[in-house]
Each structure stands twice: as structure tokens, then as C-alpha cells.
Symmetry: C2
Subunit: 113 residues, 2 copies
DNA sequence: TGAATATATGAACAACTGTTCATATGTTTA
DNA sequence: TAAACATATGAACAGTTGTTCATATATTCA
């Protein structure tokens, strides 16, 4: 690693002081990591239209029940979605408005090139 | 995979019709995947304060030059950052305003619990 | 209660990812 | 031009991740 030029030293200190804590940055990366998978993005995009049961998601995504269920549990553990039971079926939906907002911002970024 | 209840069939079709294309969803997942690493989030958070050269980033992050450089190339390939040369040094900065916005939304989500 | 339905979960495995180490490339200075 | 400096990059390796397969749990209905 190279030595630091004196004129850079205070920029480094100032930047360090202004940055969010390591804990916040770590958690933020974890959140984005959960968004960073095609299957999970497809699930979130579907749920942004409204709540949906597991079998509907399987049909919509054309994926096995097991694969969908595993990803739902990842999304739920990260508090990106929540669920409710109605008889035999379990309906999933986005956990809060932030989730839809993050998804939208990402999609917009891609669509606008 | 279970059979689809008739009353669910049109919800599935409608949701499918309203969802972004597979290509958009795939690219969106790829973007979030790049955000989904602690080292890269730290780099982006640092650059959101202003441009910075590689050796400053190494010092700030307390990481090897090689590790930082590899991640910078990932960020650049995904067009999240850009760079300019000034003499021996190369300064990196966020590619556009969207990047800072996505980062901020993610951090806010974490900070607000 | 037993069968059918809907969903969850553990194990296993291939594919992917991030760091390190060694080295290459490009720029400045002596 | 040679040495020093700043950054990039290929190979390798350990750790992580997403799917499949098999099976478990929970609810309803006959």
C-alpha cells in the first residue's frame, strides 16, 4: 500500500467522519444482497402488484415450490416481505413501502439506461 | 407444483402482464448484486462524499490495493462509478445521481429500522 | 381419523464470489 | 533511460449461494 500524500490526509479523515457507521454499511450491503438475485427480484416485482400465495408465485415464475419457498424464507428473514395464513394457503406481501421504493428506483435506473 | 385455483388464474395473468420484462428484472438484479457487498458499499459511501484516488480509498478502507482495485473494476463494469486520470493517480467518482440515490434509500431503510 | 393439499426445510452439490499473491501496465522523476 | 510510484489484472483458493431432491409440518375435508 502506498504512502498517503499530506494533502490527502485530511480528505480521508473528513470522509471517514462523514460516512455512516460500519454497522449501518454492513446492514445496507446485506439488504442489497437480498435484492441482488433474479428470482427474488421477480418475487418482489410480483408482490408489488399485491399479495400472492405460494402456489400462484410458483405458477407465475414457472419454478419449483421448493425453490420459491426457499427464496421466500430468505426474503422474510431480511424483512422484505411478510405473510399471513388463510386456510391452507399462505399469502405473501411486501413488508413496507420502502421495499417497493427501492425496487422501483432500481428498475428506473435500469430502464433509463 | 400444485394446481391453480380458477379464481387465481386471472390474478396470475394480470400480475404477469404488469411486471417489467424479464430482461429488465435480470438487469435490475445485477445492479443490486453489485450494491450487495460490504466493501463495495463502503467504496460507494466514500465516493458519495466526493471523488477519491485509489490509494486514499485503500487507506480509508484499510484494505489492500489489490482488493480495492478489483472491486473498483466491478463497480466500473456495472457503471456505478467512473474515473479520470491525473498524473500517476486515478480518481474515482459516482457515475450519476441515481447511484447516490439508491445508496441513500438503502441506508435510510436500514437506519429507520 | 386418514387422505389430500399447501408450504417449509435439511442435506448435498455445482456455480459463483471476494480476497490474496504475484506480476504487469502506465506515469513521473532523477 | 532507469528507478520509483500508482494502479490493474490473472490465477488460485476458500467461502458463499441457489437449486434440487427428499421429507416434514400444518391445515382442510371426507
Amino acid at each position: 500500500m502506498a504512502d498517503i500524500h499530506p494533502e490527502h490526509a485530511h480528505i480521508i479523515e473528513q470522509t471517514k467522519a462523514n460516512m455512516p457507521s460500519e454497522e449501518i454499511l454492513e446492514k445496507t450491503a446485506e439488504v442489497f444482497k437480498v435484492f441482488g438475485d433474479k428470482t427474488r427480484i421477480r418475487i418482489l416485482a410480483a408482490l408489488s402488484e399485491g399479495e400472492m400465495c405460494v402456489c400462484c408465485l410458483c405458477d407465475l415464475l414457472e419454478m419449483s415450490q421448493s425453490a420459491v419457498s426457499h427464496q421466500l424464507s430468505v426474503l422474510k428473514a431480511a424483512r422484505l416481505i411478510k405473510n399471513r395464513r388463510e386456510g391452507k394457503q399462505i399469502y405473501y406481501s411486501l413488508d413496507d413501502a420502502h421495499i417497493g421504493a427501492i425496487l422501483c428506483t432500481g428498475i428506473s435506473h435500469v430502464e433509463e439506461g
